[in-house]
């Protein structure tokens, strides 16, 4: 904890959980799609579903998908900006069994037909936890540098990534693997102590059997 946790963050109101946190969930989803989205299907659960209009949660999520951060003054105009960018948005108040009260599930589609589905919860103070990517359970907050790597479930892939990071002095503070089935698609989430430089992420993206790698930091 430091002084900027107390006098901060700088954010667009009205609610750190319903607005600032929502921007971050949208941001992670947009980053995972990796290309401009043309279609967004947003399912809202719990308090998000009930109060999204008053808190501007919908605007916040859309803003995040468009790549904005929680202090961006354009958040309140995001539906219009989405329209201009050719992004069609559907908001669906829903119920997701067992989810945290402030949860959104976003399904994004790109012009090329690429798709990503992300479920995240806003857990207070603008902090978030991403719970699911493409239906697979994950758990990361983006508070430290995080690599999210979609890869084929083949022997040696994890070792290659961790060895590469280790050789560059990057210490892994948290590691999680999730897979749909043996030999299918798996997701590694790797939280680290130091800083993941863009070139490191590019190198990992180019490794064999890696489908997609993104480096994330939200704070």
């Amino acid at each position: 904890m430091n002084v900027f946790d107390i006098v901060g963050p700088v954010m667009i109101g009205p609610s750190s959980s319903h607005t600032a946190g929502a921007v971050r969930i949208g941001y992670v989803t947009g980053l995972l799609l990796g290309k401009p989205a043309v279609k967004a299907e947003i399912h809202l659960h719990g308090s998000f579903a009930k109060t999204y209009k008053g808190h501007g949660t919908d605007k916040a999520l859309i803003a995040g998908i468009l790549g904005m951060m929680p202090d961006d003054e354009r958040i309140r105009n995001s539906p219009l900006l989405a329209e201009e960018a050719g992004l069609a948005v559907t908001i669906i108040p829903d119920s997701i069994p067992g989810a945290h009260p402030n949860t959104a599930r976003i399904i994004l589609t790109s012009a090329e037909g690429g798709q990503v589905s992300v479920q995240g919860s806003s857990i207070g103070g603008g902090n978030i936890v991403i719970n699911q990517i493409n239906g697979l359970p994950v758990e990361f907050s983006g508070q430290s540098d995080t690599l999210i790597i979609l890869h084929r479930d083949i022997a040696g892939v994890i070792a290659e990534v961790s060895q590469y990071l280790g050789e560059r002095g990057i210490n892994i503070s948290n590691f999680r693997l999730s897979r749909s089935e043996k030999g299918g698609i798996a997701i590694m989430t790797i939280e680290v102590d130091g800083k993941v430089e863009p070139f490191m992420n590019e190198h990992i993206s180019g490794m064999p059997n890696i489908l997609r790698s993104i480096a994330l930091r939200l704070h």
Binding site: M1, T51, K59
Partner: protein, 302 residues
């Protein structure tokens, strides 16, 4: 000058020992902790202060309206009262009320604010410090420095109690913001470390037990007006402490009391939108107007 933020007394003792302002000690300690220069920490705090100042300016103008349509324009009403010299309480006090509501209304209108310590209580600290700059001609630099003193108080509260309405009720949000603001005001007015301690204690005592009961779960009713009340509490506490009035209960003990009161507070009074003003006939009607009859509760907001 190695110190933690476990107790306020420990911080005040360090300031007495070093015979310097608490804010200077906190700035140096934070620079060390975050492994960067004091200047870079100061610059970052200056950015927070500039965002606060812009929020005050925008919020005082006419035409502010919240996303839900429930609130807005009240800070401008107060500003008009001051401009027309019709205000009751004097430029400093009414000015502070107007500034607190201005920032809180900007927050509700999806404008840019600094959570201090939360979005719901974001008007109190800026109103206190910017009022000292504008009405008492304190330099901007000193005002920015006073935010370090306020932050230190906030960190001690965060360590020993909490800062969120969902955990501790409104006493944890507007109450803590009032205590932080009181500390900043005392430092800006030239008060001693002891006076800061008493001001914090008095501010917390005055809001002990305040519940978090947002109508329809939104950060608007009663949150915006509680920002006005919060900054008034900060000036009350600072004025008393600066006069040499002491709190019988030390600040650190009032913080523990706040924690215990928060723990024993019923869940319906901790940001669930189920109790207090949210549960009044009018509160329920507003909820239904905005969100329909679906669901019995208004949800939570932090």
């Amino acid at each position: 000058m190695d110190f933690h933020y476990d107790t306020l007394e420990q911080l005040l003792e360090a300031a007495r020992r070093e015979n310097c302002k608490l804010s200077s000690l906190v700035l140096l300690q934070q620079a060390k902790e975050m492994e960067c220069t004091p200047q870079s920490i100061f610059d970052r705090m200056e950015h927070q202060y500039d965002v606060m100042t812009q929020a005050v300016q925008k919020g005082l103008e006419p035409g502010v309206r919240s996303n839900s349509g429930l609130t807005g324009g009240d800070a401008n009403r107060l500003a008009n009262q001051i401009n027309g010299q019709k205000h009751l309480c004097g430029d400093l006090f009414t000015g502070a009320l107007a500034r607190a509501m201005a920032v809180a209304e900007i927050n509700a209108a999806m404008g840019c604010i600094v959570a201090a310590p939360t979005a719901g209580s974001c008007g109190i600290l800026p109103a206190a410090v910017i009022t000292m700059q504008q009405e008492k001609s304190i330099s901007k630099k000193e005002c920015i420095m006073s935010l370090f003193t306020a932050s230190a108080v906030g960190m001690v509260i965060a360590k020993n109690a909490c800062l969120s309405g969902a955990q501790g009720g409104c006493q944890a949000e507007c109450g803590s913001a009032g205590a932080m603001a009181a500390a900043a005001i005392v430092e800006l007015a030239g008060g001693t470390p002891d006076m800061i301690g008493h001001a914090v204690a008095i501010a917390i005592k005055n809001t002990l037990g305040l519940v978090c009961d947002p109508v329809a779960g939104l950060v608007e009713i009663p949150c915006i007006k509680r920002n006005a009340s919060g900054v008034s509490n900060a000036f009350v506490a600072a004025e008393l402490a600066l006069s040499g009035i002491k709190s019988a209960i030390p600040a650190d003990e009032t913080i523990i009391a706040m924690k215990n009161v928060g723990d024993s507070m019923h869940t319906s009074l901790k940001e669930t939108g189920e109790g207090g003003l949210a549960a009044t006939p009018t509160g329920k009607r507003i909820f239904q107007q905005l969100f329909g009859t679906d669901g019995a509760k208004g949800g939570q907001s932090i």
